[in-house]
């Protein structure tokens, strides 16, 4: 990259400002594809989507289509969804169960471990000279699961997923490891697209509680939202920016009394079960609102005991596709599953009461930041800049909401990733 888009000048660590260029410059977007989406651990699927041998789902890593499948021996693979012959997608369905993937273009066929097992006219036209062992599906070099979340990385030398998540695992455990039953996705994926840069959504989930009362003012006015949090600053109302660039928002929340009949006993049981697995400090947070982002493009949102997860798939500097799933405890009663479904559908989905507002904000921000003149002036991320504290019981730098320490942690990590030219000693 040229000096004008040197990451060091785009993110000012001392002044805590961010250049609008990082959202709208096509050159920076291309560099992100290599340096961020080409190297980081990216969320691809939940293991409950591929429970049985032969199960597959198609997904994306950045702009690259991938297949996540379980081979006949039960091992999960992440393959590029692209035939080695001409690049055609070998799997054209969102999910299913298969014994092989056959390319629709010329019929090259791969088994569920990616081996090339079928080549039409292998004798007649290839004279059996094609070394099929060298032309298997491209397997994404690294893949691993954390508490059911399957991530993959194109970077052979990436740190382990556990190290990559680092201190953020403490927070993930709080929502993913509450009971022995584990979690599963409800069927169906919410998919929507916005004419904006992928980072607007990712940054908001990493630590923007500041917007709630304003962007979601209409929900406030009809009684669906309030100024969440504030009852127990530092203890249960806090945000955290972990060293690895992941951000977490934690807010006290009073469950709507009308849901107590269904939710009350369920949350009580969850707390009981969680006490066997989590620290007292983690168990105390159950019932709070949680929002977070794993750098770069995986986010989650939890309230009323439910968990919504999403990936922000970049589609150019000016376009993001959002894919979102509802995660539930495997052994939750039917009434709780239905509530989980309703909560996600009505709030944070393409027609959701809250999601509509966010989409509008991110789209309109992008429109102004494309401006050549506007781009000269940075965006402000200074809120509570030097007031974070650490706590022996919780990872990361903490501050009660609202604060921008989590968001700026995201951009500090972005800067670090973009400055790495990939040269290896």
């Amino acid at each position: 990259m040229g000096t004008t888009s040197d990451p060091a000048t785009l993110i000012d660590l001392a002044d805590r400002t961010v250049s609008p260029k990082i959202f709208a410059d096509p050159e920076i977007y291309r560099a992100e594809q290599e340096r961020i989406f080409g190297r980081c651990w990216l969320y691809v699927a939940h293991d409950s989507q591929v429970p049985n041998p032969g199960d597959f789902v198609t997904s994306f890593m950045g702009e690259e289509p991938v297949i996540v499948c379980r081979d006949l021996d039960g091992r999960v693979h992440v393959f590029l969804n692209s035939c080695r012959h001409r690049g055609m997608q070998v799997c054209r369905f969102e999910q299913g169960n298969a014994r092989s993937f056959q390319c629709p273009y010329h019929g090259w066929t791969y088994d569920m471990t990616g081996r090339l097992v079928g080549v039409p006219d292998f004798r007649k036209a290839y004279y059996e000279e094609l070394d099929r062992s060298k032309w298997g599906l491209l397997e994404v070099p690294r893949s691993a699961a954390y508490r059911g979340l399957i991530f993959a990385s194109f970077e052979e030398r990436a740190p382990s997923l556990e190290d990559y998540l680092g201190g953020f695992r403490w927070y993930l455990d709080m929502v993913l490891d509450r009971s022995a039953s584990g979690m599963m996705t409800l069927p169906g994926v919410h998919k929507w697209t916005l004419a904006t840069n992928w980072k607007f959504g990712a940054e908001q989930f990493s630590g923007d509680n500041y917007h709630t009362m304003w962007a979601h003012q209409s929900a406030v006015r009809v009684g669906l939202a309030e100024q969440f949090g504030g009852a127990e600053p530092w203890q249960r109302d806090f945000e955290s920016a972990t060293d690895e660039g992941h951000g977490w928002i934690n807010l006290t929340f009073d469950d709507p009394p009308e849901l107590n009949e269904v939710l009350g006993p369920y949350l009580a049981r969850l707390r009981e079960e969680a006490a066997k697995r989590l620290s007292p400090m983690q168990v105390r947070q159950i019932g709070c609102v949680h929002v977070g982002t794993v750098f770069p493009n995986f986010s989650l949102l939890s309230f009323l005991g439910f968990l919504s997860i999403r990936a922000w798939h970049p589609r150019g500097p000016d376009r993001v596709d959002v894919w979102s799933w509802s995660l539930v405890q495997r052994d939750a009663p039917q009434a709780v599953l239905e509530l989980a479904r309703d909560v996600q559908v009505r709030t944070f989905s393409p027609a959701g009461i809250f999601e509509q507002d966010d989409g509008e904000m991110w789209t309109a921000c992008y429109q102004t930041l494309r401006g050549t003149y506007r781009r000269r002036f940075p965006l402000n991320y200074q809120m509570s800049a030097n007031h974070g504290r650490t706590d022996p019981e919780r990872p990361g730098l903490l501050h009660p909401p609202p604060t921008e320490i989590g968001i700026f942690g995201f951009y500090r990590r972005w800067r670090q990733a973009m400055a790495d030219d990939g040269a290896r000693g």
């Binding site: 369905f93 409800l186 919410h190 998919k191 006015r221 009505r346 009461i353």
Partner: protein
């Protein structure tokens, strides 16, 4: 004209009137078209093998799954003056075509239709929503209300859904 054609024209007219209510921001009158126990439902789509797509209401996520109170809430939110995704209001136009009365016994009817909804916003942002509806009408002549609406949007990936169907 045959009775069948007359019946179709009758429901078609209702849909034209409904489209006018939506396009003219007469949302309170629009709410009156629905029965008190209405289910307003739009499933998520999926690219699966032929015949494998599940559009029924179950645990599967959906785009809309509202009862009458849910619809009232959507209208109240728009009326709050702070629904930023529709403030200032988008320019919206509903087109309803391919109306077919699938069944009618005098007191109940099932009517299918196709729709295109055009939305213009932010000067240049123009969006189309395309799909079909299948409505269950109840109440009979002089008293017809929509008791159930299935909205099947033909988009695998949706734009921000700020319009009503």
């Amino acid at each position: 004209m045959t009775d069948r054609t007359l019946l179709r024209l009758e429901f078609e007219q209702r849909y034209f009137e409904e489209a006018a209510l939506l396009d003219q921001d007469r949302l309170e009158e629009w709410l009156d078209l629905f029965a008190d126990d209405v289910r307003y439902f739009a499933p998520v789509r999926a690219e699966l093998g032929r015949g494998n797509e599940d559009l029924a209401r179950g645990l599967r996520l959906s785009i809309f799954d509202d009862n009458k109170d849910g619809l009232k809430l959507r209208v109240a939110r728009i009326r709050s003056g702070a629904a930023h995704a529709d403030e200032p209001p988008s320019h919206v136009r509903h087109f309803v075509t391919n109306v077919r009365v699938l069944q009618c016994d005098g007191e109940k009817a099932t009517v299918a239709s196709n729709f295109i909804v055009f939305k213009s916003r932010h000067g240049r942002d123009e969006t189309l929503f395309v799909g079909r509806r299948e409505d269950r009408w109840a109440g009979g002549p002089g008293n017809w209300k929509i008791a159930g609406r299935l909205i099947v949007l033909d988009h695998n990936i949706l734009e921000n859904v700020t319009v009503l169907f």
